[in-house]
Symmetry: C2
Subunit: 303 residues, 2 copies
Amino acid sequence: MTQIYDRVALIGLGLIASSMFWSMKRGGLAGHVTGYARSAETRETARRIGLCDTVTDSVQDAVKDADLVVLAVPVGVMGQIAAEIAPHLKPGATVTDVGSVKAQVISDVAPHIPDGVHFVPAHPLAGTEHSGPESGFATLFDNRWCLVVPPEGSDPEAVETLSRFWHGLGSNVDRMDAEHHDLVLAVTSHCPHLIAYTMVGVADDLRRVTDSEVIKFSAAGFRDFTRIAASDPTMWRDVFLTNKDATLEILGRFTEELFALQRAIRQGDGVLLHDYFTRTRAIRRGIIEAGQDTAAPNFGRSG
Amino acid sequence: MTQIYDRVALIGLGLIASSMFWSMKRGGLAGHVTGYARSAETRETARRIGLCDTVTDSVQDAVKDADLVVLAVPVGVMGQIAAEIAPHLKPGATVTDVGSVKAQVISDVAPHIPDGVHFVPAHPLAGTEHSGPESGFATLFDNRWCLVVPPEGSDPEAVETLSRFWHGLGSNVDRMDAEHHDLVLAVTSHCPHLIAYTMVGVADDLRRVTDSEVIKFSAAGFRDFTRIAASDPTMWRDVFLTNKDATLEILGRFTEELFALQRAIRQGDGVLLHDYFTRTRAIRRGIIEAGQDTAAPNFGRSG
């Protein structure tokens, strides 16, 4: 049990915040955890399942004594929440967030943070297809990466303490600047999600193949897409709207390459296809060798 | 132990054939199983690990006494193998295949099948990212679908016996005509694979994001793509070349929808994005309700 913050406030009580709570309890990382959610129903659920030591009905009450304030809301509303809590933040406190996009969140939130309060953005690379206050669990962050993205001039001690906190939640911690973070995530997460959503939408549209056939025969490849495409719609809408530039750049490259493969199929160019598929196979080997996944034919997944 | 065929010949000794062998042994479905592979190294491996009761050095020797001949080779060489074995087939035997594409395989193979021999194509919807004679395991087909695709005028008894055989291997069995099969598979498997290959290729090309970053931070979404993109390059090349029409049709629809979402991102149309993501989420629920996958945050996958 290593307490890192005396009082923590969780703003937003979805998958990430609720997992943080259970993980903080597991590790004894916080003396007292306050939670707030905009929806009365979510606050009700939180109280019922014992999520947070105290659930408050106002965001001001949640943050006023907190040493760490975690913004765990969709990235599109981070700025608005920051404006609301700013006058009530305790001097010396740290504000962090868990958003999947960093440049836009920094530009939305940073202007509201008062002098004497530290803002240290972060992004835990963990998730499931589930959302809401009941979806959290203590092990969500274990052995996953958390990227800490301190803006220039951040207080080194605040950054270091937040890094230790995420380490206590089970994560490996790395640092990155905001623009690079957004490009890396566009490649490894945002564009794959958009593509999965699109492919599932195409299947749903196709009149000659029924949804029940799609569902019944979705063994090979497509089922992974449907899992990805089941994630929280609000969260993902905001990701694409706020990481617009990197997402559109990567999608542009993606459609360019897809067109090249489409042309190879149309022209019967087996050599091009075989070479392409051989090259991508090597990347998978790299992931297995890096210990990020297992080679077993059946295995768990989170994220 | 219900023996269904006295003698079975497996032509090609990769993931599917080797899994069929171990599953036949588990269920006692065959009296004797002969195996053949074009590569001497594969035959050597098969002998070493006890894959097949007899491994022959010629394809003719493998098929000559067989009651069931299974073509388990890439779909691009099915016709050539059929021509080679045709003169050696036993009267009354059944020839089947396990290819992922059916219309092209039927038009390549059927003309070679002599009178008095039955040709009943099939497609087990099962697989892993692994290939080769050592990748098989007895449970690969358990609770997965096998689609039997009999051409018009097929012998009902031969079709029925092959269906019982696949049931004995652990599969649920359904029937479908070849064209519909190829369209359903283009949606649920072939296009998702091409898209995954493409996204992994884009990541590999991007100079500003290193492969090691891609590998390290590939938790959320992308990792599923790399698993898909690690499948056998020869098999997949042949799938796209032989299911050209359905694949190109679905890819056309896919790029059309992707462009619409891309435009919504560029224009900041959050309503369109949210609606789209909400609709695709419902399909995922259908799959879970149909018992084809589990809602647990960590779960196994095969296929």
